[in-house]
């Protein structure tokens, strides 16, 4: 009994999960499915009166060695892992693109606001230099574009954000991802194309100044390319909630 009390089932499961995650041929969805299976098997043995340690040992043995599982899944579908990797690459590119555009608009807002605050003191040497140089606009772009990304990366790496569950619920819905990304891309372009006035300064590409090949390139870079990237990302998305056919 004392030994049973000492056995840490959560830690054992965590170790097993880590072993599985170390297999490059097992996708996140496969790992999730295998874990569900392990837990079902474990519960079955516990119901038969086995101790946590015995039940875990047997369940682990039944499911199989992580390395062997990795090999079997690779043999069954060698492209699955690459599909998942491509998905994360496309998703990262798309996220960076959309985030950069949003951060750019936000930085223009912030820069304009700082300029408004500083205008009464424009005669002072330092303020004059700040307003004439690009320090404020470049600084605000750097801070708004990269600091949130670095903070998010730190929080994810240290486990402060449960990104797995968050992403799973978000990525479970292809329509939502497609609509959100398309909406943000089109909104950004609409604001840019119409020279939306954030305070005092117009954004660089106004309808009056852009035409012909420049307009085409602008649309290709800001709309066509990210929309293609959105389509590729959505297509590569794992589909955890595909609609089942009703069994007869």
């Amino acid at each position: 009994m004392e030994h049973q009390a000492r056995y840490n089932l959560d830690a054992a499961l965590e170790n097993w999960r880590a072993e599985l995650a170390a297999q490059p041929n097992l996708t996140a969805e496969v790992r999730r499915e295998l874990e569900t299976h392990l837990r079902d098997t474990l519960a079955g043995f516990q119901q038969r009166g086995l101790s946590d340690e015995e039940a875990f040992w047997l369940a682990r043995r039944r499911v199989g060695q992580p390395a062997q599982l990795g090999e079997e899944f690779f043999k069954a579908n060698p492209l699955a892992v690459w599909r998942e990797r491509l998905f994360w690459m496309a998703a990262a590119l798309l996220t960076y693109f959309i985030w950069s555009n949003l951060a750019e608009m936000l930085s223009i807002l912030v820069t304009n606001q700082i300029f408004n605050w500083l205008s009464p003191y424009r005669q002072a040497g330092l303020v004059s230099w700040l307003m004439q140089s690009s320090v404020i606009s470049v600084g605000s772009q750097l801070v708004l574009r990269y600091v949130p990304l670095i903070l998010a990366a730190i929080f994810v790496a240290t486990g402060r954000i449960k990104w797995d569950a968050l992403l799973r619920s978000f990525l479970g819905n292809r329509g939502l991802v497609a609509a959100l990304c398309t909406g943000l891309i089109l909104l950004h372009e609409w604001l840019m194309y119409n020279g939306y006035n954030f305070g005092r300064r117009h954004i660089h590409t106004t309808a009056e100044h852009v035409s012909g090949p420049v307009l085409f390139l602008n649309l290709a870079y800001n709309v066509f390319w990210p929309l293609v990237l959105t389509a590729v990302t959505v297509w590569l998305m794992p589909a955890p909630n595909r609609k089942s056919a009703q069994p007869t």
Partner: protein, 112 residues
């Protein structure tokens, strides 16, 4: 205990037949095979999933993550319309083998 080759060859018709009874998930499928075969067909638990995924890729079965009664999420598999056709073809082939052997061993043939 069934030979390894036979276990591998019968995996597809067994899975399609079990899913023809209704949707199911990995653990339940293994329990069902064990129960039906009286423990004679022993599938390695982790090896079931590559087969299920291959059948899904071939469009014979479909899957959906759903919450079970316990609240735990499970991936449920079900037969697709192509799977139903494939099961019919599998059934025909296995019965042909069964009847051929049956004639040699003087066992009553099974009609389709």
């Amino acid at each position: 205990m069934l030979a390894k080759d036979m276990v591998a060859a019968s995996a597809k018709p067994l899975l399609l037949s079990i899913l023809a009874e209704g949707e199911s998930y990995g653990y339940e499928i293994i329990q069902r095979v064990r129960e039906l075969s009286g423990g004679e067909i022993e599938w390695s638990d982790g090896m079931l999933y590559p087969v299920l995924h291959r059948l899904e890729r071939d469009g014979l079965i479909e899957s959906e993550w759903k919450a079970a009664d316990t609240g735990r999420q499970r991936k449920y598999y079900s037969l697709s319309s192509d799977g139903r056709k494939a099961l019919k073809a599998e059934r025909q082939q296995w019965l042909t083998v069964h009847n051929t052997l049956g004639k040699l061993w003087n066992i009553k043939p099974v009609t389709i």
